[in-house]
Every structure is written in structure tokens, then in C-alpha cells.
Symmetry: C2
Subunit: 138 residues, 2 copies
DNA sequence: TATACAGTCTCTAGTAACTAGAGGTTCAAG
DNA sequence: CTTGAACCTCTAGTTACTAGAGACTGTATA
């Protein structure tokens, strides 16, 4: 049995965040000492590691709740879990695509002022003001 | 002179968002009719288009404030604006990098349950529970 | 000119996923 | 037994909006 601070150290999840997860129902209510402090065991550690890892991968709290829900009902859980993971993957791919477009435009914009040439007016500001300077939509 | 709804239609920025931008100081306080309704002109339209475009590119409200500030003090504005754009670019690139890592792991995870083989336990859940299944850090 | 009704106004509260701080209590080491 | 770090709850703040209540305005039509 260890304290919330200990759990925090081991999982790299901040103390207030752990309490927040408990409040959100991601973690079961922790056992308490006589003095009302939370105590955790190995199961708690594993559960929080699971959550941490899923959060790192960008799963929302809601998605993680569903995954935990599935763990408790192992029938058909694999398909449903795969669905959640796939949709997360689609999400990530969409974000990457969008960011690549932005990257192109931003690198074009911020190259504008480098060196000589375009210094009459600020190219950055002009680019942002006039969308026609883009070669694509958004 | 046109109404906030008209401005909204032309810029694709929602009405409450326009009011929000005004409150945040991104837009100057709009002129009002006798009946207290906002009225805009071409300048307002351009300013909001600028903001919209910058937001689309992922600039924060704060960064946009700085850019607007710079427009009002054209001395040295170009360098400072380029700095803001470059840092935005660095940000975008970092995000892309991170997302690529996630993409790899997620695609590995969600492939797990496809077809035959690993169906004893759910591979998705196992992967999330056990970080050792990853071949990288995060 | 009267009326209907879409559009507008302000204000408050809610969203996601935390983070920070106040003010008070408990645990463990010396 | 005393100290002080760690813990407790509660409230409020963060970002960039979005939603809703309840009241007022502007304009098109009869």
C-alpha cells in the first residue's frame, strides 16, 4: 500500500490529476487510512498506468472510460476496443494531414522575411491578411 | 454597414465567436445602431478575416493579439512577426512528429485483432496496459 | 401602420482536461 | 512529542469557444 504521492512518482501522473481521474470515475474510489488519506496497491498502479498510456496516445477521458467498461465485460470486448483504437487512429491521421498543410503554409510565410527582397511590407502580416496568397483552401 | 449575422456569413465565423473576439480585444468595439446592435464595415470584415485565417493556422488568441499589436507599430514589425510565425511553425512540426509516433503505435495496436491469431485476450487492451509492448518511449 | 418573427442584445454557465491556491489535517522521522 | 512534508477538500482559473435564457430590435409583409 502506498500514498498518492508515491503513486504519482511511479506513474508520472501528477497528484491533482490522480484525484481528478478518481472524480471522473476513471479510477475507483481509493481506500483510505483512518486519517482519510488515499492508499493504493498494485491494481491501482496498473489501472493508472493504463490510463496514462492511453492519454499519451491521445485517447479522450471518455474513450478511456469505454475501454475500461469493456475490460469489465470481456464478451465482444475485442471488437469494440479495436473500433475505439481505429477511430483514434483515423483521428490522428486526420490531424497529421491538416498539420502538414499548415506546415507548408507557415514555412512559406516565415521564409518571406528572411534575407533580402520583400521588406517593404511585412510578408507575414500580408499573408495572414490576404488568403489569396495561399495556394490551397482551408 | 452590415449586421453581425451578415459578417458571420461572410467570414464563416460564428456570431457568438465574433462577440467573444471583441470582448478579448481582438476586434475593436463595433459601432452600434440606435437600438444597440453592432454594425460593421469593410475594415471590420478584413480584420476578422485576418483573425480567422490566423486561427486556422493554429495561432493562439494571444499570438494574434501580438500580431495585431505589431500592425499598429510598423517599425521592426517584420522581424517580430516572423518570430511569431517561426515559433508557430516549430510548434506545428513538433506536433507532427509526435503524432507520427502515435500513428505507428496505434496502427500496430489496432491491427492486433484483425483476422486470426491474437484473440485470447484483447490485444488493444493488453497493449495499453503494458507499455513494454511498445518499441519506443513516450 | 400594425404585426409577426428572425435576428440581436446581455448574461450566465458549460465544455475538456487539467492546474493553482487557500486553509486545514495527517503521517512519519527524529 | 514535535516538526514539516505530504495530504485533504473546495473553489476558481485556464483556452477558445458554445449553448441557453429572457428580453429587445429591425424589417418584411398585410
Amino acid at each position: 500500500m502506498f500514498s498518492i504521492g508515491e503513486l504519482s512518482k511511479r506513474t508520472k501522473v501528477k497528484v491533482p490529476t490522480i484525484r481528478y481521474y478518481e472524480e471522473m470515475g476513471l479510477l475507483p474510489e481509493a481506500e483510505r487510512t483512518a486519517g482519510n488519506q488515499r492508499r493504493y496497491d498494485k491494481a491501482g498502479l496498473e489501472r493508472l498506468s493504463f490510463i496514462r498510456h492511453a492519454r499519451d496516445l491521445g485517447f479522450s477521458i471518455e474513450a478511456i472510460s469505454s475501454l475500461i467498461e469493456l475490460q469489465n465485460h470481456p464478451d465482444r470486448s475485442c471488437e469494440a476496443a479495436t473500433d475505439i483504437a481505429s477511430s483514434q487512429l483515423a483521428d490522428v491521421r486526420a490531424k497529421i494531414k491538416r498539420l502538414r498543410t499548415l506546415e507548408k503554409e507557415l514555412s512559406r510565410i516565415s521564409k518571406g522575411c528572411d534575407g533580402e527582397g520583400v521588406s517593404e511590407d511585412c510578408y507575414v502580416l500580408a499573408s495572414l491578411a490576404d488568403h489569396n496568397l495561399c495556394d490551397h483552401e482551408h
